[in-house]
């Protein structure tokens, strides 16, 4: 309760201040709508927000899972071979440097306009880098005592990877996943700004803004925010489930 209460009070106070500022200051709604107006739109559009969030959420989830699987396999391979490890990091950096803003229109044109694939590909690419890099770092940091022990057990390379490297790198994997989970939602939403199938939150935000329905645009932004938060919290939950030994240390 003590941990929940301060941020809740702070949030409510911020909303009240926002409302007072907009009403007393006569701020035009296209600059900043009042929270009450946005709230009303959230209520009115809740069906649409839900559908759009579901579409964007599915894209983000598919991209997140796909990108993570690829990153895990790539990191495992890169940690097993010195050459691959040295070659793969600059390649991963290049992928990371690819601006999704530049990539999204190209991918959208590569596939049919009814395909969800471009947005999922964009998400997957964005997810790949933080997961790959963090996991690779974890896979390489093996306690030398563990290394010697596994040698005395005559463990093969893959046994070593499965029993020691991978579980030892789990904290690093989740550091990467925490970053990636929020990025996945951002990528899935932003990719829609550049064409393709228009059934997600990004498309709703641009179309509302184009019709100067700013409170509605903000309502969908709030939806995107909640979606990103959900992804992040589920990742935190997974982290707790996957690493019970950390949890017991804390409690």
């Amino acid at each position: 309760m003590r941990r929940v209460l301060p941020p809740v009070i702070f949030g409510v106070m911020a909303l009240v201040l926002w409302e007072v500022f907009v009403t007393l200051g006569r701020v035009a709604p296209f600059i900043l709508p009042a929270p009450s107006a946005i709230g009303a739109q959230i209520l009115e559009q809740r069906g649409n927000i839900w559908d759009a969030a579901l579409a964007s959420g599915t894209n983000a989830l598919v991209g997140l899972i796909g990108g993570t699987l690829l990153a895990v396999l790539a990191a495992l391979a890169a940690s097993r071979s010195r050459l691959l490890g040295e070659v793969s990091i600059p390649f991963a950096a290049v992928i990371n440097a690819l601006p999704i803003i530049a990539l999204a229109p190209i991918l959208n044109n590569m596939f049919e306009s009814t395909s969800s694939l471009p947005r999922r590909l964009v998400t997957g690419i964005v997810v790949f880098f933080p997961v790959f890099l963090n996991l690779l770092r974890g896979l390489r940091e093996v306690n030398p005592v563990h290394q010697e022990l596994m040698r005395t057990y005559a463990a093969s390379g893959w046994t070593f990877a499965a029993k020691v490297r991978l579980p030892g790198a789990l904290p690093h994997l989740f550091t990467g996943l925490r970053q990636a989970s929020s990025l996945a939602v951002i990528a899935a939403v932003v990719a829609e700004y550049f064409g393709g199938l228009q059934d997600g939150l990004g498309a709703r935000i641009t179309s509302a803004a184009a019709f100067t329905a700013y409170p509605r645009a903000w309502a969908f932004v709030a939806g995107a925010c909640l979606l990103g938060l959900t992804f992040y919290l589920v990742t935190l939950l997974l982290e707790r489930v996957a690493m019970p030994w950390k949890q017991r240390l804390l409690s």
Binding site: T152, P167, L249
Partner: protein
């Protein structure tokens, strides 16, 4: 049969490079079945190197290592020895019980069998009640006991220990020394024990092997026969005589 037989062993690190180090020079050592041998010497004398050569964690430059009648590499693959280091080196994502099970797991022992074997080993080190805990929840001394239980899990004829009590406080250290002797008496294991504590070496060992540095070699081998290995043994005149003898051997 001898537990360990080392003949003409020389180890040169970074051979042929400018930072070449002669770590061990022409070392001969025999450890009999059930014998407890300590290796003692100043840091850099190659005692840990010698232990790692016996464990086949590194390869000798010249000479041969035989463990349980087999070449060292074969003995390692057959898990003829258990090993414990100064750091417990437990796998923090495994419970205490599953840590002890790991060497059995890699041997392909069935689940039920390794569970019962692990519980038996934890009983031996007095940690049966902590089987379900994670290593992070245990004190340093308890972790080291788990590491010893793990080293014993495959019931190897030989135990290799590299300063296993080096990071522990004096009280815990003395208690674990007694426990180790009790365990060895039960299992009949031979032990090669690296330490830099003279009193620890004398109290535990049937024989203390004294080494000197640059190049690492064996300079003395001192038989120890204490009347008993307990509090009485720690106060026996022969205990202090042997401590003096080892100290003088280290000085010379």
């Amino acid at each position: 049969m001898t537990a360990v037989s080392v003949e003409g062993l020389t180890k040169i690190f970074n051979q042929g490079r400018s930072d070449e180090v002669l770590a061990l020079s022409d070392v001969d050592l025999t450890v009999g079945d059930g014998e407890f041998v300590s290796l003692i010497g100043p840091s850099g004398c190659g005692k840990s190197t010698l232990l790692r050569l016996i464990a086949d964690l590194i390869e000798p430059t010249t000479g041969s290592v035989t463990v349980a009648g087999k070449p060292a590499a074969q003995a390692r693959r057959d898990q003829e020895y258990g090993i414990a280091f100064q750091q417990a080196g437990l796998f923090e994502w495994r419970t205490v019980c599953r840590n002890v099970e790991l060497p059995l797991e890699l041997r392909g022992v069935s689940k039920a069998e390794r569970r019962s074997k692990a519980e038996q080993m934890l009983e031996l080190v007095g940690l049966a009640d902590f089987a379900g805990h994670y290593p992070g929840q245990l004190s340093g001394g308890m972790q080291q006991r788990v590491a010893i239980a793990r080293a014993l899990a495959v019931q190897p004829p030989l135990l290799l220990m590299d300063e296993p009590f080096g990071a522990l406080d004096e009280m815990t250290r003395e208690r674990l020394q007694s426990e180790l002797l009790g365990i060895c008496a039960t299992t009949g294991s031979s032990v090669v024990f690296v330490t830099h504590s003279i009193s620890e070496a004398v109290f535990l060992s049937d024989r203390v092997v004294v080494m000197s540095a640059r190049p690492g070699r064996i300079t003395a081998s001192i038989e120890v026969k204490l009347p008993s290995r307990d509090e009485v043994g720690r106060q026996a005149p022969v205990y202090f005589e042997k401590i003096t003898e080892v100290r003088q051997a280290l000085r010379s």
